[in-house]
């Protein structure tokens, strides 16, 4: 009995961490710039390839490889923004098509350069047993990293000047602009940050998956749906959607298999588009505002 409960919890936090790490970068880009970056999966792939080369070919420790992969992917993102995304700031639908095309090109480029598969990195830290089943310490570490990352993102958005300017830009781009916020610079910074987070995710999951040019695809669907279900608020949305979808996915994964887990996530996406088109965070912020207004009104009446 205890073993079963532990297995569920482990599955859930594992799904949660995966969804959060895969989606956070995409959510920040979408929330800030209104751009759906379909090449997010390939940025994750680039992070993984750089990490893999650092570790397998250059003999660096995994953690150093991940850091280099993160920074490198950030700069790839910056380059993408300056060359392509910059021209699509006010064209959200075109940006979907353009980044989708870019994702295909990047995957093919990697295939041409590195071939169909790479030497893998073995999963570090070993495993432990609970009630006869074995679990990986590394996956627990990923959960901890996801939580720390959420906290850091929260602190950055809440207490730094960059964070303040991005939240204002998200709420009203024109007015932020008129108050002296350089929208171009904000966009470039945001895209770079979102890309670096993708690279980080790619490096972190490298030991758990085999590395092929289609590595990015295994992330894209989940991160896309997480952003869709989460809505425009990158932090609140990602956490709520990661939690909600994590429950659905982990239960389906345990009861049936991962194929049904993926189907479940897509069904959730359809349900959300129908019922809460602004996502979790849109709904939540709406409710929060209504409650506050009511409170204010009561205070005014007294």
């Amino acid at each position: 009995m205890f073993g079963d409960i532990f297995a569920y919890i482990y599955q859930f936090i594992d799904s949660f961490a995966f969804l959060v790490l895969a989606a956070l970068g995409m959510a920040i880009i979408y929330g800030m710039m209104g751009i759906t970056n379909m090449a997010q999966g390939e940025l994750i792939m680039i992070g993984a390839y750089v990490t893999d080369i650092m570790v397998c070919n250059l003999g660096m420790p995994l953690i150093i490889g991940i850091i280099i992969g993160t920074v490198f992917t950030g700069f790839v993102g910056l380059l993408m923004d300056r060359l392509i995304i910059k021209r699509l700031y006010d064209r959200p639908l075109d940006s979907v098509v353009a980044t989708w095309g870019l994702s295909i090109a990047l995957a093919q480029l990697i295939y041409i350069i590195f071939g169909p598969s790479m030497t893998g990195v073995s999963i570090p830290l070993g495993s432990f047993k609970v009630a006869g089943r074995s679990y990986s310490y590394y996956r627990l570490l990923l959960v901890a990293i996801a939580i720390v990352l959420i906290l850091i993102t929260f602190l950055v958005f809440k207490y730094t000047k960059f964070g303040l300017h991005s939240r204002a830009t998200m709420q009203n781009r024109e007015i932020a602009n008129s108050l002296g916020v350089n929208a171009n610079k904000m966009n470039a910074g945001t895209f770079m940050l979102g890309s670096a987070l993708a690279g980080l995710c790619g490096g972190l999951y490298l030991p758990t998956m085999s590395l092929t040019p289609s590595y990015g695809e295994s992330f894209l669907v989940q991160s896309f749906v997480t952003v869709l279900v989460g809505g425009a608020d990158p932090l609140l949305g990602t956490v709520l959607a990661g939690g909600g979808l994590g429950i659905v996915q982990s239960i389906l994964n345990m009861k049936f298999n991962t194929f049904y887990g993926k189907i479940g996530i897509l069904l959730m996406a359809i349900l959300f588009i129908r019922i809460l088109p602004n996502g979790f965070s849109g709904y939540f912020n709406g409710v929060r505002l209504k409650m506050k207004l009511k409170k204010e009104k009561n205070r005014g009446d007294k």
């Binding site: 303040l164 300017h165 939240r167 204002a168 709420q171 009203n172 024109e174 007015i175 932020a176 602009n177 008129s178 108050l179 002296g180 916020v181 350089n182 929208a183 912020n285 505002l289 506050k292 207004l293 204010e296």
Partner: protein, 236 residues
Amino acid sequence: MSDMLKVENLVSGYEKVMILHGVNIDMKEGEIISVIGRNGVGKSTLMKTLIGLVKASDGTIAYEGEDVTKRKAYERAWRGLGYVPQGHMVFPRLTVEENLMMGENINKIKGKKPDYDLIYEYFPRLKERRTQMAGTMSGGEQAMLSIGRVLTGNLKVMLLDEPSEGVQPNIVEQIGDIILRINKDLGISVLLVEQHIGLIQQVSQRCYAMDKGMVQTALTREELLNYDEIKKYLSV
């Protein structure tokens, strides 16, 4: 006194539809000038073009003698233009204090700290509500916040677009007092777009009456104090 703002033959609008058809305005340092006119004559478009949110397709905008017609909105803010938009447009999910911090980039002077005490002295209500989300405040409070927001910077010209909109009558008069104080204490020039006759008469030194996307008449202080005269330009 030097020219603070000089607008010549300004043409602008949206896509192919032009709203302004050659507007001429000039403002000296330290003036408070109103732009009046009925709904839809292009007053707000004028303000948006002046700050750079709407592109000018012809004519020039000179600010402190420099041609800023091609400058981006944020570059104009860096030079000291402070835009207080129609409908107040506070950031609803930022706190009052965070909203105020957003103005600090306006003509930022290194080493000079924004004077929050002064802003809270002008608007004590904002101090009480410092940590509250701006979207939950009343229209009057949002109007105050929208004005306070540009005061955290070192602005020289305030572009004030209908501060009386959605605001209770007694608060409108308070706002008028504050506009006069800001002008006197801080030497800020004010270009005010308004339809509220009381506010126009309370603060304006002179006034431009707009119609059909152009300035039709310039009115002196004496003329704009004449209720019947000014009413002609405002009523439907």
